[in-house]
Amino acid sequence: MLTIVDYGVGNLFNIQKAFQSLGSDVRISNNPEEIINSDRLLLPGVGSYEAGITALKENGIDQVVREFADSGRPMMGICLGMQLMLSVSEENGNWPGLDLIEGKVVRFTGPAPTGKPYKIPQIGWNSISKPGNVDVNWKNSVLESLDAEDTAYVYFLHSYYVIPEDAGCVLAETNYGRDTFCSVLMKDNLVGCQFHPERSGKVGLGILKSFINH
């Protein structure tokens, strides 16, 4: 059973529909018992970091999510859900995250005053690729379906991105404006997608499918 954590933030239904279309046994839950007794966990999220971490703590769900992560079972964070797994975010202050993966969350650099203009948030499709400076294998990861592809486009909608302490956690990176940032994060049983795989067409569904089959 795959459980999508409902902590009051984000549109869970599209994620649920995506997993259902892949034939997965999936439920949405805010019940700690159900959450801890799942085979796989999905941490969704849109909106501000402050609202996200506050909502997680409010219902004690942060504790059970940590327990699940410690158990070694597969867990995926999407967008804000992925960012919440890090240690701290610089969004509107300094907000502590779940600290499942060491690192921080920072804002896009933004265009240089005399440089080429671009917008924040990044809203749209962009390509994900193997990090240039690290030897990385996509086989046996959630990105295995993309291993043979030249370019894979996925859909982003965000103003902040993660910087893990350990560069070895960066499974895929993406260029936007003046930044090259981590678009897929992986550490042991934990994986994070900055983009929305449930809104990334067939490429995204392939990633979700790999997560179920992992």
């Binding site: 609202a51 203009p117 948030p121 809203i123 370019t151 929305h196 995204g204």
Partner: protein
């Protein structure tokens, strides 16, 4: 570094049907919204916009059902517009599967609605829809109620104000150019895009591939939305049966008329008076890619 530009299909919806007018007038039925949505998903549209064209008349957005149906099978982002007037409306549509909502009339009546919505749902879900009309003297003003009412807001100023209020994106439609196939109002797109730091989607006027290039390069649009140029291409499927106007799917119910079905009656051959040169989504993307504008290729 550059990133891909979005090519978006805008569907004007009345009941279950996809309709298309000119400058927001005279909606012709072209088929069902569901059929066209599926086509666009498979053909590589980067996003879809559903515009409820009778929302102002009925004082509400009626697209929840079509949103629910289509978001189940289409894994691409969806923005819903038309008659969104309350926090509850937004909540209903997001829960039904919409990723973003675009607000016009309600925001002009009460700009604080935008900041409240952004605060509750997050800026990324809240799009300001601007229907911009260029007067003879060059002043661009904001119209509401899908082209039925005039406000005294000036387009660029309103866009800047909305950004301050917390919207995550702006959907800018030129009423003068809409459906005419003569190109976008590049000037107003550029004026708005260079005045705000959030993405701007240009809409209204696409007639051929060159127009898309113009509005991105000269207009500095971050994304381009079009309706006629795509709908008139796909409503003539090569290997599929022509949709019959007497199909139950195209009826909206006993109390409401079936809409302007003249175009359908002519069996999809009636290209007389088409203002656009119909083109596929991949045709537009290929043209853009060959002309210095990166797009998502599938």
């Amino acid at each position: 570094m550059s990133h891909p530009t979005r090519v978006i299909s805008r569907l004007d919806i009345k009941g279950p049907n996809l309709v298309k007018g000119l400058q927001f007038e005279g909606n012709r039925v072209l088929g069902t919204a569901q059929q066209f949505s599926e086509i666009y998903y498979h053909e590589g549209a980067d996003e879809l916009i559903y515009q409820d064209v009778v929302a102002s008349l009925y004082k509400r957005n009626s697209l929840k059902e079509i949103v629910q149906k289509t978001s189940e099978t289409m894994a691409i982002p969806l923005t819903v517009a038309g008659g969104i007037r309350s926090i509850e409306d937004i909540n209903d549509l997001l829960r039904a599967g919409a990723d973003k909502v675009a607000i016009n009339t309600a925001a002009v009546s009460d700009p604080n609605f935008l900041s409240e919505a952004a605060r509750i749902f997050g800026s990324q879900c809240i799009v300001l829809s601007i229907e911009s009309y260029r007067q003879q003297n060059g002043r661009c003003e904001v119209w509401t109620d899908y082209g039925r009412e005039v406000s005294n807001f000036e387009t660029v100023e309103w866009a800047k104000r909305a950004e301050e209020l917390g919207v995550g994106e702006i959907l800018l439609t030129s009423i003068n150019n809409e459906g005419m196939g003569n190109g976008f109002d590049v000037e107003i797109v550029e004026a708005v895009s260079s005045s705000v730091s959030v993405p701007v989607i240009a809409c209204g006027g696409a007639g051929k591939p060159e127009h898309f290039k113009e509005v991105v390069i000269e207009g500095k649009a971050d994304a381009v939305a079009a309706a006629s140029i795509f709908h008139y291409h796909y409503c003539r499927p090569v290997n599929q049966p022509t949709m019959s106007y007497s199909s139950a799917d195209l009826r909206m119910g006993a109390q409401i008329d079936s809409g302007n079905i003249e175009f359908l009656n002519e069996g999809y051959g009636g290209e007389d008076g088409l203002m656009v040169e119909p083109c596929s989504i991949s045709g537009i993307k290929e043209f853009l890619n060959n002309n210095g504008v990166e797009t998502r290729t599938t």
